[in-house]
Symmetry: C2
Subunit: 232 residues, 2 copies
């Protein structure tokens, strides 16, 4: 019997590619998304479309309200930065950082894995995000795995939860190339921090810029809809 795995799925480019990789590695995927007070419900719609297109055993959307704490442009009224230079995107912790978000998401993933009897948990963090977000660093994931081992029934019974971050050392272009190899339809994915009402991407926030550069590095056009012509 194929082993079960929980995959954190935002419906963005990275987590969608991660889901495709988990499937290809032979895991039965259980996708977990979060409605966490982000500005755009469209993330959930994208996650549902991706889960349906790639095929998952189950897709759970957990409601968690991170707005109660404030502190991030993604959950409050702070402005999302636009058109920043690449060096600037990589420097320091951006205002779009949501405090402790990956720790919270992984804790929920760990809870579901325990209930499912799964020993594998996939997260789509990668080296590009890692430059700015503290909870995308490999040493964070290792520390989380150690904590999870001690936190759960599985840990007491001797199994160990493994955290997989297959994109960790890949560039955005490499992630996209890998996903295209696996047949991912990137039109379904949504990356933008501040999409228009019709769901089209802004083309100017950090997330859009990193994504567009990834496609450009491969000499490809991003198939996702943009509300304005992205900068060449």
């Amino acid at each position: 019997m194929s082993p079960k795995a929980v995959i954190l799925l935002s419906g963005g480019l990275d987590s969608t590619t991660t889901l495709a990789i988990a499937r290809q590695e032979g895991y039965v995927p259980y996708a977990l998304s979060f409605r966490y007070g982000q500005r755009h419900e469209g993330e959930i719609a994208a996650a549902r479309a991706v889960a349906a297109a790639l095929g998952v055993a189950e897709h759970v959307v957990a409601d968690i309200d991170l707005r109660v704490f404030g502190g991030s442009a993604l959950t409050s009224d702070l402005a999302v930065p636009k058109d920043r230079a690449e060096e600037e995107i990589g420097a320091g912790i951006p205002v779009t950082y949501v405090p402790a978000r990956n720790a919270i998401f992984l804790s929920f993933g760990m809870a579901w894995a325990e209930v499912l009897g799964a020993q594998d948990l996939f997260i789509g963090v990668n080296a590009v995000d890692y430059s700015g977000y503290p909870d995308c660093r490999p040493e964070f994931l290792e520390a989380f795995e150690n904590m999870a081992h001690l936190a759960t029934r599985a840990g007491i019974e001797g199994h160990r939860l493994r955290i997989h971050a297959p994109l960790m050392s890949l560039s955005k272009a490499q992630i996209i190339a890998r996903g295209l190899d696996l047949g991912v339809d990137y039109r379904l994915t949504r990356t933008c921090y501040e999409p228009a009402a019709d769901g089209s991407a802004c083309g100017h926030c950090d997330a859009c810029q990193l994504r567009l550069k990834g496609f450009a590095d491969l000499g490809l056009a991003d198939p996702a809809p943009y509300s304005v012509l992205p900068p060449a």
Copy 2:
């Protein structure tokens, strides 16, 4: 200026005593409670009463739906065990264990601490719970602290989040004695896993039994209301 601290507050005997200890140690307390699909809304009411009685700078109730995963008698339809012998209560992981609950709660506490600029987080776990719940063990809290250090902006900037578990090595009777010294009114606290509609405790679940024994060991009667006469 007194340092801020986040205190996880369920409204039960342990977390209430922990809040009183944090205050006495000179912290400005920020209380954090969770509406997590537990059977009894009364927990939240108790937490509010306790926060008002002891005085906190702010009390946040975060909504998180742990029912989506099932797997515990506290969030699903599994039966809560009653009238178990003391040895039985301490043996193995009980069905009232909620998978990864403390990891999830502490992750939220960590998020709020980061937004507040607090470096201290209090949790009321203790040695009695520790016998059955994997995420009440000291080694779990230590691993969580290491993970938190790497997960947050504070970690990157060199501060370190400290997790305080002042009840860890205390018996239930010692916890109650400490709280009474600090003027805690235990009538306000709620411990029962399955209270009656009027909020009175059942007197027979594991939590009630441990609590009643704590008061009995001190030669005291529990001032909280019980729906039936508790066993002598």
